[in-house]
Amino acid sequence: MIAHADTIPKQRHPLIAFILRWLLTTNHKEIGTLYLCLAFLLFFIGGAMAMVVRLELFQPGLQFTQPDFYNQMVTLHGLIMVFGAVMPAFVGLANWLVPLMIGAPDMALPRLNNFSFWILPFAFILLLSSLFMEGGAPNFGWTFYAPLSTTYGPPSTDYFILGVHLMGVSSVLGAINVMVTILNMRAPGMTLFRMPLFVWTWLITAFLLIMAMPVLAGAVTMMLTDRHFGTSFFEASGGGDPVLFQHVFWFFGHPEVYIMILPGFGIASQIIPTFARKKLFGYHSMVIATIAIALLSFIVWGHHMFAAGMPLAAELFFMYATMLIAVPTGVKVFNWVATMWRGSITFETPMLFAIGFVIMFTIGGFSGLMLALVPADFQYHDTFFVVAHFHYVLYPGAIFGTMAAVYYWLPKWSGRMYDERLGKIHFWTATFAVNLTFFPMHFSGLAGMPRRIVDYSIAFADFNMLSSIGAGLLGLTQILFLYIVVKALTSGEKVTDAQVWEGAEGLEWTLPSPAPLHSFETPPVIEPDDAHAAADKA
């Protein structure tokens, strides 16, 4: 990434020129980098909050925090990881990769792209500033159930509402941009069914974002009017219904879960074929399975609310619909295994993270299936079993997915190679730490430990101590990752070959390394290969 000298007047002070360049950039690669840097910064902030939580839970009793501050940490950890780390990281990857993969010169709406990024720092300043306000930060969990968040919320809740609105605007604008780019900017010959899986998963994610985020905006707007303008959407004493909030929230919340995993599916579907040196098995069924998961995600929200008081018929419907998601998800896992089957596999760091993704995500999928069974859910619900479940889905899914992507495409982005030995150490310590942190949570949950509690019965002490030790180690692995990336960027071995990985396929590998700031100014022409031609005919 070289500064574009001719766009910036020469007489400016270099620092001002630097700031203006990044503030005003409309280049998809630079905006992608901004997104990834912001996501990584917020990942550290959200992670530090998780460290506070695990430190407090290291032993029963109150050690380091007071209950109200603990609740603030739990709340902000969730909000920042979901809206600040995972989602911007995926948007950053989309910015970098979608134009390269479809042979487009840039995103379709470059100024909008700049705008949707620069909303985010302000959104998170608003959210994080609440920590320093009288009454403290939001303390009602990232799910902000009414009336705890409306009638009983701290004054800073209004900053939270505004922050969520801004994040939503950013996400919707980003999603529109991705969608328009994919649908209109493909190079000649790049038919929909020749697009790489990562592009497909992001196209579907963009639809989910546009469907789901306005619903979240509706939820926080109703909160705002309940708090200040005398409405009673969620206030029973005024004729409203607190459970309505949960319906609205989870109608957003469940698609949101897939927003945070589908691009990860796409990443695994790019990386596994490369290092298995074999085409992705079942390309079409992968696309169809992703669409099926996305559609099903809109009719399963009730499974978050089985204990909220739901009629039998609704419980049965949501149970069956939820179980059904296991089918397309299973198809994806089977396809990845079949891709590796009788390949010629090597285990570079991106491949290790992709395999770790598949295995541990599947474990999270298993516990998700168990949670779908309503009678058993009455025992699992709101316990650490659920915490174990969604961290198994999100950490190996979203975080391992993003890290696999960074290792895989960093040489293309920067023209420099990461340290393979350190990458492998990172993978193995992270995998060990993830399992040490989150696996014992299954057992503390089954033994009866509710989630979001600052203090617990001594019966759960051993499992919590293990989780806390694992969490500390997991925190350290992030510093190792930062070191590996910085080392690669500053002193990594130079990559000169366009084809960084011998088995990699796709347009991005036809560009020189590092990819020039402006690429595909003349669109490439995609020659249908035999396989796709055959598939097109079929």
Binding site: G136, G309, G343, P375, Q379, H381
Partner: protein, 382 residues
């Protein structure tokens, strides 16, 4: 899978069990640590059974899928398998691995549906208890006979602050447990006075949210007498962790005796209240009672030294209300502040306790009003 692969897995399984036995774990001990609780009701046992079925299915599927993955990682790595195969599509295979999981899921849905239909049958209860949650306590009201009481955390602040040893029932102990009889279908009607809470007893497999303005139903039938403990499971504010559920299950005849005791106790409390308000109390009498009430009811928010915690839990030391007209102080304690954690204490505490705690607050933490609130004053303010 090849015979060799099977041998490897069998050996691994044996190794695992040998290691566990060496470390002195019996099957029962392992189940206690790693399994869902069996509980003491037919429902809880059927739920545990369902857990075993779904876990078993997941383990078997996991062994097959992960086994295939590890096998291919081993057998098809480049050093052993330098030339990759070319295949990348097979419609029959895709159909097979769509249909087989669907059949497995149907197999799991059948028992889940059966158990669920049973759980949702709230009809024909022998006894009904109205459970009302509030921050951070439960109130139990028996519909017939007319008995009701609050159930507060009984664990001391010293144990929470690590000043004394924690016991087995740490933060799972209450002053007044819910008491129900064995072998009767007990129906719970759940609601809440403020935010959403959730009433959970793992040994009954009953978990139901208490939602303000709405009534949810659940039921249980316990065969084994004993004391069963659970917690609030829906984040309900600052002291969510300190809101235990304790249920004491008594044999039917003992339960009847307990009901009788409650009736007698209620009558005695009435007489005591009359006696309390018919005499004048001294500061020395009220202060120790007030301190006791303050520590058990008020100190979690306002802190033992009255310093408070920011604007949401204001300081009592030097506060306008504790140092202002006594009528305002009585009104604040008895009626609370709507839509905040400050509850109305009039229904929860006796005249004597309210009088004592107000007297204590006006004459502690550096407040020195010197006035005494009499139980009669509180009675008249009701």
């Amino acid at each position: 899978m090849t015979p060799k692969g099977r041998r490897v897995i069998a050996t691994l399984g044996q190794l695992c069990s040998i290691v566990l036995v060496i470390f002195g774990f019996s099957h029962a001990a392992l189940a206690q640590v790693f399994d869902m609780r069996e509980g003491v009701t037919e429902t809880s046992q059927r739920v545990q059974n369902l857990h075993h079925i779904s876990l078993g299915v997941c383990v078997v599927v996991g062994i097959v899928v992960f086994g295939a993955m590890f096998y291919t990682m081993y057998a098809h790595r480049r050093s052993k398998h330098p030339v990759p195969a070319k295949f990348h599509e097979s419609t029959p295979v895709e159909i097979i691995w769509t249909i087989i999981p669907t059949l497995i899921l149907i197999g799991m849905a059948v028992p889940a549906t059966t158990v669920l239909i049973e759980i949702e049958d709230n009809s024909d209860p022998d006894l009904t208890v109205l459970v009302t949650a509030s921050q951070w306590k439960w109130h139990y009201q028996y519909v017939e006979p007319d008995i009701g009481f609050f159930s507060n955390l009984a664990t001391s602040q010293d144990a929470i602050n690590n000043l004394i040893e924690k016991d087995e029932t740490y933060i799972l102990d209450v002053d007044n447990p819910l008491v129900i009889p064995t072998n009767q279908k007990v129906r719970f009607l759940m609601t809440s006075g403020d935010v959403i809470h959730s009433w959970w007893v793992p040994d009954f497999a009953v978990k139901q949210d208490a939602v303000p303005g709405f009534i949810n139903e659940a039921w249980t039938r316990v065969d084994v007498p004993g004391v069963y403990r659970g917690q609030c499971t829906e984040l309900c504010g600052m002291n969510h962790a300190y809101m235990p559920v304790v249920v004491e299950v008594l044999p039917e005849e003992e339960f009847d005796a307990w009901i009788e005791d409650q009736r007698v106790a209620a009558a005695l409390a009435g007489e005591q209240a009359v006696a309390d308000r018919s005499r004048t109390w001294t500061m020395d009498e009220l202060m120790p009672i007030g301190e006791e009430v303050y520590i058990s009811q008020c100190a979690t928010c306002h802190l033992p030294d009255g310093a408070g915690q920011g604007i949401r839990y204001p300081a009592l030391a030097g506060s306008e209300i504790a140092n202002g007209p006594v009528e305002g102080h009585i009104d604040r304690v008895m009626n609370g502040v709507a839509d905040t954690e400050m509850q109305a204490w009039a229904p929860q505490l006796s005249d004597r306790d309210i009088a004592a705690v107000i007297t204590y607050e006006r004459n502690s933490f550096g407040n020195a009003m010197g006035d005494i609130v009499q139980p009669l004053t509180v009675f008249e303010a009701r």
